[in-house]
């Protein structure tokens, strides 16, 4: 593999890893703080992608889709939390699995009723349709760099939110000891609602910005969901830092696996997970 090809694959893997992180961060927070297994998290990614398709088709602007779509998803998350999820924080994992599996079916059919079962594409904005030439015939699309940049900005924002703000302190307190935090006057129900909505928002955001390069199709949430599970298992449940590192690792293994070992590319990530499990059954950064 010559250097430009290597560079392209490396950039691809980082961009994919960062995108996975957007999903896995919400998933790991919802696991870690509320103790909920959320199989429907992939559906929020799909929701984002279809919102990108619908809104950018309507207004002709991906920026509007990013802002409007994420806002709609956050509202949707708040409603869903209020209506269903908050009643399941104290229930068995088994009940949570079934509830969220039922929701996958429901969301999938609502998507089918609203937008049909065809594959759609979303246009890359004019400004970002450029490519950076690397050699005479190899170049790298600017939009992928734009995705990576947005994800890095959000990751930093998430870090600041959790570690440097008063709200973040309450979130951490709630994750550490729910009853004690509540006794000290933290409105834990509100914190839970906000964390859940944040998770939904991040997943939908990932779906929106990924839509122009991945296209928009039925069942697109399922595959990404299982990848996110792998990321969360490797990183350790509840650890946002672990999710970031393991998402980048998974991105690297998956992207280079497809180039170097195409006949077993699908398996490599899971073998990585198996190796981590042997070494640290609770993930690399279990808190």
């Amino acid at each position: 593999m010559d250097f430009p090809t290597f560079l392209i694959q490396l950039l691809n893997s980082v961009q994919y890893g960062l995108l996975l992180f957007m999903l896995a961060a919400g998933l790991t927070l919802i696991f870690g703080i509320m103790g909920v297994v959320n199989l429907a998290h992939g559906s929020f990614y799909m929701l984002g992608a279809y919102l990108a398709y619908a809104i950018s088709g309507q207004f002709g602007s991906l920026t509007v889709a990013i802002i409007g779509g994420t806002a709609l998803a956050v509202l949707f998350g708040l409603a869903l939390e209020w209506l269903l999820f908050r009643h399941f924080y104290q229930r068995d994992h088994l009940d949570q699995v079934l509830l969220t599996f039922g929701l996958i079916y429901i969301f999938e059919e609502l998507r089918s009723l609203a937008w049909g079962d065809d594959v759609h594409s979303v246009k890359i904005p004019e400004l970002l349709r450029l490519s950076i030439p690397l050699t005479e015939n190899l170049s790298y699309p600017v939009y992928r760099l734009f995705i990576a940049g947005l994800c890095i900005a959000l990751a930093i924002g998430l870090y600041l939110l959790i570690n440097k703000t008063r709200l973040g302190m309450k979130i951490r307190a709630g994750a550490f000891n729910r009853d004690m935090a509540e006794a000290l006057g933290v409105n834990i129900k509100l914190i839970h609602a906000l964390v859940f909505a944040l998770g939904v928002g991040l997943a939908a955001f990932a779906g929106i910005i990924a839509a122009p390069i991945s296209s928009v199709y039925p069942n697109m949430g399922s595959q990404v969901l299982i990848m996110c599970f792998v990321v969360v298992v490797i990183g350790g449940i509840g650890s946002v830092r672990g999710a970031l590192i393991s998402a980048l690792l998974v991105g690297l293994v998956d992207t280079f696996g497809k180039v170097l070992l195409p006949q077993m590319a699908g398996m490599l990530v899971y073998m990585l997970m198996a190796a981590v499990l042997l070494w640290k059954p609770e993930g690399l950064f279990k808190q």
Partner: protein
């Protein structure tokens, strides 16, 4: 955490009566039912074996596996590889080999997954099932995304004499029924054996079991392997009946369906898994068969009805059908109370 739900291990008279009537109905069914429904009930019984195998993990041991379909599918693939395109193969060795293949896979994967707990276990079982899925999906030699055909159904022979052939639909029905009974009696016996009691102990409190000197890892791995092998039996029969196997069968949707069957009937006693499998498969049939209303084909959107049904069951009847039967037959307020979570 998933273990605290109370279990109905010993059946009250009312439930026993219902089960005996059910068995009589199953014995008589091919004489009264049409061929279509006989095949549908065969399929239900196959899923009942699958659900019972999962119940050993989910209900008895308290391990929620979201990847159980992998072992189901593996045995189906084993049958496909063992069956040549030109002639029927013998049941005597293809059945044990397929079951063994599923059990061996469960042993290897179980070695990794059994060391995890709670949420991790759910996610890791699902991820490994996905890995198995990709092994078959990515390789043309293993059938790829299209899957494999099973050209001939197995026969049971002694010398040159054919005892029975699964080609015949009624024979297949009774063979499957016999397998359901065999697996049920075996698992009920196991439930009350020292091994089964140890598994139930792990469900209730694994730390205490370990403190008492039980090597829980070995117990859980044995349960996982056995459950995988029995899922393989179901997968083998599935392959025989449908004559076709593909990777989608091993996806997490199939695994989640099995979890739903076990929940729907009531966990931890195997009879509930049978009831749940029948109920679930019948509902699936009903939902897929819904008519057109105006422009909209209701049956095409069966996932919407099934999804809503699952959500409603989780919200309002988390102890399943047998739990409801029990509440009705005993009318005790006490049982009702510990059913609420």
């Amino acid at each position: 955490m998933s273990a605290t739900k109370s279990h109905l291990e010993v059946f009250p008279a009312g439930v026993k009566l219902v089960l005996w009537l059910g068995l009589l109905a199953l014995l008589a069914f091919p004489f009264v039912g049409t061929e279509f429904y006989t095949q549908m009930v065969t399929r239900m019984m196959i899923m009942a074996i699958f659900a019972m195998s999962l119940d050993l993990l989910q209900g008895v041991t308290g391990l929620v596996s979201l990847g159980h379909a992998a072992y189901f599918g593996l045995a189906g693939y084993a049958l496909a590889f063992l069956t040549p395109q030109s002639e029927a193969v013998s049941l005597w060795w293809t059945l044990p080999l397929s079951v063994l293949a599923a059990g061996a896979a469960a042993l290897v994967i179980g070695f990794f997954v059994v060391r995890t707990h709670g949420i991790y276990f759910i996610m890791v079982t699902m991820a490994f099932a996905q890995m198995v899925y990709y092994v078959f999906f990515d390789n043309r030699a293993l059938g790829g995304s299209d899957g494999l055909y099973i050209y001939f159904k197995p026969t049971a022979q002694v010398g040159s004499l054919t005892l029975f052939a699964l080609d015949d639909k009624v024979t297949m029905y009774y063979f499957t029924l016999a397998m359901v009974l065999l697996v049920y009696l075996f698992l009920r016996r196991l439930l009350w054996s020292p091994f089964g009691r140890a598994l139930a102990g792990i469900r209730v409190n694994e730390h205490r079991m370990r403190a008492m000197g039980f090597a829980t890892f070995g117990y859980k791995l044995s349960a996982f392997t056995l459950a995988g092998a029995l899922a393989g039996l179901a997968g083998y029969l599935w392959g025989v009946q449908t004559e076709y196997i593909n990777p989608d069968l091993m996806g997490f949707h199939t695994s989640a369906h099995a979890i739903m069957m076990v929940i729907l009937g009531g966990m931890g006693n195997f009879a509930g898994a049978i009831v749940g499998a029948f109920t679930f498969e019948y509902l699936l049939h009903v939902f897929k068969d819904l008519p057109y209303v105006g422009e909209v084909h209701l049956g095409k959107h069966w996932q919407l009805w099934m999804g809503s049904f699952i959500v409603l069951v989780v919200l309002f009847a988390p102890r399943g059908v047998l739990g409801v039967v029990q509440a009705l037959t005993t009318r005790g307020a006490r049982q009702q109370k510990d059913g609420d979570v």
